[in-house]
Amino acid sequence: MAQDVLNALTLGSLYLLFALGMSLAWGTIGILNFAHGSILMFSAFSAYLVVREVALSMPVLLLIGAAVGAVLSLLVQVLAFEPIQRRAKDHRQAELQILVGGIGIAIIPLAIAQHITSSVPFGYSGGTFRVDTYDLGFVRISNVQIVTLVAAFGLAAAIGWWLKAARPGLALRGIGVDPEVSSLMGVDRRRLALLTMAVAGALAGLAGVLLTYYLGSIAPETGDAFLLKAFAAIILGGVGSIAGVVLGAVILAGIETFVLVTTSGTWAPAIAFGVIFLMLLVRPNGLLGRQEVRRT
């Protein structure tokens, strides 16, 4: 039982790491980035390309992953999403175009990674970090599990605090409510949008490297598999609320773990879809979402 809870928390922390950046960008600057999974994968993949040549430690790989993720995310923002927002005739059209653009862009890193790896999983066995497992009697926990848990919940707390207390965080929330008035308050929306995308990308990069450590290896297609799960977690918790994402990720992982433990698991894939659908019907703002969700 204790092990199941720990497992659910770990799975939840993986969803969280992935969903955090996505939720941040969506809830504030209104960008639902469908290339997020691809960015996560490609950051982890870049770290793999480096570690294949040089044996590096975990912190260095995490840095590489975060840097690659931030750069990719910025590129996507500057080359795709900014032009879309500049040209779109209204908000709804921009949303749709960003969605499709993200889907299209996501194919590009995927194609490159698939080509180099032939879709064979890659891992960091070339690095210096080794996985150890500790048996605490009532649960078994590995060092990478601890890192993942601490990183996910720690980063969520840090971002939550930043949004709440720091002035740029406040400005970002303002943009989430009313971008135009925010700029009337002197907020440079473009700069904050770039900052947000960079942070989201860096989070995706971190998540990718941690995920690869935690799972042992990931495949080029792994990023996409997390996309809809992360989306379910965001919807469950509520768009624009960091506490909501944390709650959503943990609850989703909890339900999935429960179903896996109590059934043969063939219905497990349906849970995320069920959660998305039911939440949107019953409470579109999510458990902790603000009342005024942008619903254009």
């Binding site: 406040l170 929330r173 700029s183 002197g186 009342q291 005024e292």
Partner: protein, 238 residues
């Protein structure tokens, strides 16, 4: 202080503002009158940088700010209080105000915040509550306070009395007068001409995107019926 010269604003199919000129000077209220669709809001939005003017000039204290991005114009000392108040509803009252002082330093912001609370005590009482829970009049006060947080030298108000109860309208316009008395240049767009004329120093009347009258408020007040008739006729044409 604020000088708008021969401004033209064009949208996809129509020219909303055609050669409008207006100005606002410290301590005085310039009232812009006009029917729906006369181009008042467009003039303000263009001056604030929300839309790019097609032609013309906007200068602030002699500096050309035409076509600058809105967040830059704020830094030049001019702020727009948009139509419909548009407070950040889910954010707390205080967060709204702090965001208003985004361009100021932390110390300056704290100082002005205290002044705003003094000016609008109700905001101080509700500082931790969500802005969306305030009444319409209170929200308008918050919008004023938020605009004042950047210590502007020019303030543009787009229909502050819209949708408010008559008693609220009076206190809102009182607050507008107060801002001008504090030495700020005020450009006020108001549909409620009679109330507006009571506090205005200068009047600009617009119809179909053009200025049809411009002059001191006394002159407008003395010819109020003529002016109103003209505006009414213009409104019919619209």
């Amino acid at each position: 202080m604020l000088q708008i010269d021969d401004l033209h604003v064009r949208y996809a199919t129509a020219e909303a503002v055609r050669g409008v000129s207006a100005s606002a000077t410290p301590g005085r209220i310039t009232l812009v009158l006009g029917a729906n669709g006369a181009g008042k809001s467009s003039t303000l939005r263009a001056a604030a940088g929300l839309v790019t003017p097609h032609a013309g000039r906007v200068t602030l204290e002699g500096r050309d700010v035409t076509g600058l991005a809105p967040h830059k114009i704020v830094r030049h000392g001019m702020v727009l209080v948009p139509e419909g108040r548009r407070v950040f509803a889910p954010l707390s009252v205080e967060e709204n105000l702090v965001l208003g002082g985004y361009t100021a330093t932390r110390e300056k912001s704290a100082e002005v915040l205290a002044q705003v609370y003094e000016m609008f005590p109700i905001l101080g009482q509700r500082r931790a509550g969500a802005a969306g829970l305030l009444s319409g009049g209170e929200q308008q006060m918050l919008a004023f306070g938020r605009a004042l947080m950047s210590s502007p030298r020019v303030i543009m108000l787009d229909e502050p009395s819209m949708g408010l109860a008559p008693t609220m309208v009076e206190s809102v316009l009182g607050a507008v007068r107060g801002m001008a008395d504090a030495g700020i240049a005020v450009l006020l767009v108001e549909q409620n001409a009679e109330m507006g004329l009571e506090i205005a120093d200068e009047v600009v009347a617009m119809a179909r995107g053009e200025v049809v009258f411009s002059g001191p408020a006394e002159q407008a007040r003395s010819n109020a019926s003529v002016l109103l008739a003209f505006l009414g006729e213009a409104a019919l044409v619209e």
